[in-house]
Amino acid sequence: MRNRSLLVLTAIAATGTLTLTACGSRASNSGSGGSGSGSTTVTIGVDAPLTGSLSALGIGIQNSVDLAVKTANKTNEVPGVTFKMEALDDKAAPQQGSLNATQLVGDSSVIGVVGPLNSGVALTMQKTFNNANLVEVSPANTNPALTQGPNWQTGTKARPFASYFRTATTDAIQGPFAAQFAYSTLGKKKVFLVDNKDAYGVGLVGTFKDEFTKLGGTVAGQDHVTSGASDFSSTVNAIKSSGADFVYFGGEYPDAAPLTKQLKAAGDNISVIGGDGNYDPTYVKLAGTAANGDYATSVGAPVESLPSAQTFVTNYKAGGYSQAYGAYGGYSYDSAWAIIEAVKAVVSANSGKLPSNPRQAVEKAMSNVNFSGVTGTVSFDQYGDATNKQLTVYGVKNGVWTTIKTGTFSG
């Protein structure tokens, strides 16, 4: 008997460690660049979930950075410097992100990193990058604490890490923007809040709730769900009995799609509104007709509608990538390009040559980067946040995401 319960215990312990052990250690193989033809090779690292349920977004980021690197090499953007991309998979897991950060820092050819996708992953990477003065530009992190410190909500903003930048807008704007849309444009007054417990989801729901209650709306109930679960019947029942007239979801589409599907199947035909994590074609594909009438806000203006993005869209198609660039493609391209611009500034300030230890100089140059990118003018404020604070509301109509309105949140 004792033997059996011991076995059961080891079994439970073993599965627990499963989540921790799935990480290989790849030897870094890139040297500090060839000096053959007088050209220095530098690496732009990418950290994103390349496997797992968010891999569609992650691979879009990887491909877009790859496109930026290839474009820079083709146009000889920085004379004497050749760029190369090295992508690491963080599996959307914070502990893997931390390992990847160490690996990227250890590779002396890495001059800047694009990523990660998840705010929760970014939290574990920032310090490692900052200690090495290695610039990190995220195309997708929206949690405000990443740039403005943990006390941003009480008004004491302090930038925790000078090496962290992002091209995405924060949830400090996205949540309230959605709240105003729901309250004023849609006229909904009673919300049920659902989050998936990660830094992004909780942050988004928090900022939404503050603005929504300030406007006069009421919170009918709240639930936290496990990411990756399939059965949301208890949440659906809680929503139904709360009498809410819409659901605000903080999380990503792999959880939001089954939730909206099960909610509508249970006969509660109310809108699910989410953030940029929901804005993905897969959401509609998975939820089917249940997605009709749902909304999502996303950072920036729709890439397809921007005249500045036409070249990017054409080049991406011509690049022969098998996966779509996804919600963050334009931002990833701009993130990589910001690093390239910073390198260019460093090189031209150093009489046409890359200094022997360029990381700190690149970090300094980032704050002065200003160029016209895929998503509009790209530059960073004193916290490292994008100065471009546009957001767009999308709605599902007849099975496709359609643009409802683009705007900026003020006050």
Binding site: M1, R2, N3, R4, S5, L7, V8, T10, A11, A14, T15, L18, A22, T51, G52, S53, S55, A56, I59, K197, Q222, D223, H224, V225, T226, G228, A229, S230, D231, F232, S233, S234, T235, N237, A238, K240, S241, P254, A257, P258, K261, Q262, A265, A266, G267, T282, K285, L286, G288
Partner: protein, 309 residues
């Protein structure tokens, strides 16, 4: 009261699916004392097998024809994979210390997940699973989807079949004999290797059925769906008494009920509202597991087996 009947029904339906998977853990454990952690992935491959059959049939096929074929596809896929893993990964370790096959099982689990992720078309994001026509039905204030009826029918028929098989067929009795004492069973002329393969195949067949049920209920399947579900099903098997097939079903039902009810009703206890949510429901499931094991270490229906090791 937050629609108590609906919550009970939802809990039982979830539990029935857990039960179908838990049967696989319990049969294999009963015979070779191996916790087959790859069983959750066997369940997942079954669902993907069914989806492949559906895609192969073309869109015009009636679901009444498609469902039996999908079930066959699921059962065949998961059984073949389970038998292969037994042959390649577990049999060479039959006489190794117990931890070795356990770790191997975890390795098999990761391998199967990655194989589906890497080689099944578009499996990198969740795949849409076909749904049953008809429904929903209102029965006394409870909303029942047509897929829910499938789950109930599948669970009842499978359990009855298993009970008949284990009790009344020669192979079933050979399985019981092997579970009680493999060495003596061997001396009595039972081919224990064959019995072990049958145990794996039987569990896998049930997992395949569960895979179809899961896909029909939730409308999507994904490469990593077996991990969490398999863990809950394993919990159900332990709760019901690992080694006992009825216990696996009962454990599944209890677990499903606990998860669904605690997610909603804990909030009604004053001061406990922060412990009530869909994500806390797994915590409560394990609290119940620990409480049950404290009173009945052998699980709800666990048998008093002689300590063999």
């Amino acid at each position: 009261m937050h629609e108590l009947p609906q919550n009970l029904v939802n809990g039982l339906l979830l539990g029935a699916t857990y039960g179908l998977i838990a049967v696989g853990y319990t049969i294999v454990y009963g015979i070779v004392q191996l916790i087959n952690f790859a069983h959750g992935e066997i369940f997942m491959t079954g669902a993907f097998g069914a989806l492949s059959v559906y895609l192969g049939l073309g869109s015009g096929t009636s679901m009444w024809i498609a469902i039996p074929l999908m079930l066959i596809g699921a059962i065949v896929t998961s059984t073949v994979i389970a038998v292969l893993t037994e042959r390649l990964a577990y049999r060479p370790l039959r006489n190794a210390p117990r931890l070795a096959p356990l770790i191997t099982a975890i390795g098999v689990s990761i391998t199967l997940q990655q194989l589906v992720w890497g080689f099944y078309p578009s499996a990198k994001s969740p795949r849409v699973f076909p749904s049953l026509p008809g429904g929903p039905f209102h029965i006394g204030g409870v909303l029942i989807q047509s897929a829910d009826i499938f789950v109930v029918v599948a669970a009842v028929i499978s359990t009855l079949f298993l009970a008949y098989f284990v009790r009344s067929t020669r192979t079933g009795r050979a399985m019981q004999a092997t579970a009680q004492d493999p060495d003596t069973a061997k001396l009595m002329g039972i081919n224990t290797d064959r019995v072990i393969v049958i145990a794996f195949a039987l569990g896998a067949g049930f997992a395949g059925i569960a895979g179809v049920a899961w896909g029909l209920r939730y409308g999507e399947i994904k490469f990593d769906m077996g991990f969490l579900t398999g863990l809950y099903a394993f919990t159900a098997a332990v709760l019901g008494g690992i080694g006992n097939i009825y216990g696996a079903m009962l454990g599944g039902l209890v677990l499903g009920l606990v998860q669904n009810l605690t997610a909603i009703y804990i909030a009604d206890i004053p001061g406990m509202s922060q412990f009530s949510s869909q994500s806390w429901s797994s915590v409560w499931a394990f609290v119940i597991l620990i409480l049950v094991l404290m009173v009945r270490p052998q699980g709800l229906l666990g048998e008093r087996v002689a300590d063999r090791a």
